[in-house]
Symmetry: C2
């Protein structure tokens, strides 16, 4: 796949927060602000296994992340695709997300899957299939109202 252009990849790599949207059992959108990291065409979010967002993803298999920069005119884009909750080999991605939260030059030492499981930590992954509502990124696209 090659959904993410270089400009979009750079945008994701320099802006660490986004708004995650999942679908509730009554088919309404559920939103929350999250930190994320990018791994190729996948977006990774650290969350807790018992969170409603994790349950939504387990049920629906889909999620959307709208990422924005934080100065006017607020460049932004929405990334969506198949989503899942993973519990294996999540030490390194969790460390990468923690690094973005702490704004530190290096990631912390990755925890083991066992230690993360004990803390209830899982990783929510979105494999980017659609990029929509792109504003002020990747030259030439126009704002959407």
């Amino acid at each position: 796949m090659n959904t993410l252009t270089q400009a979009l990849s750079e945008f994701l790599d320099t802006n660490p927060v986004g708004v995650l949207a999942t679908t509730t059992p009554s088919r309404k959108p559920r939103q929350s602000l999250v930190y994320f990291a990018r791994d190729g065409e996948r977006l990774l979010i650290s969350t807790l296994d018992d969170r409603l967002k994790a349950q939504d993803v387990r049920r629906s298999g889909w999620a959307s992340l709208c990422v924005m920069a934080h100065e006017s005119p607020f460049p932004s884009a929405s990334f969506s695709g198949p989503a899942e909750i993973i519990t294996e080999n999540i030490g390194p991605p969790t460390a990468k997300i923690m690094q973005r939260i702490a704004q530190s030059p290096d990631p912390p030492e990755p925890m083991s899957d066992e230690a993360l499981a004990e803390a209830g930590r899982v990783v929510l992954t979105i494999t980017v299939e659609r990029v929509t509502a792109v504003n002020y990124i990747d030259g030439g696209r126009t704002p959407q109202a």
Copy 2:
């Protein structure tokens, strides 16, 4: 209704952008960054009648807006409730939203409903019924991961 505390109202009045989420016909979340204004317990977004977000709201009658501040730790909250597309008396709310976009001290002269209709402009309203995922606002609430 009294869903919005004073702290939440002030937060909405000082942060002009949010991520709107609506539900697509295939029940997936659709997100885009928008400017909004508050009118009591209602959130108002100016959009175009032919936008997919307007069609989603006409079909589903519900929307969510996640509003954030733009510095770490990124205070944020999600506001959702019954939503509709209105086309009457939308001059003043449209002017208020334009004022927030332009960051000007006063709103521009309101346009007439006829002029806005000609431009395809409508207002999407959300009557806030639920406030969720509140982070770093309204003291004492804890971050959600």
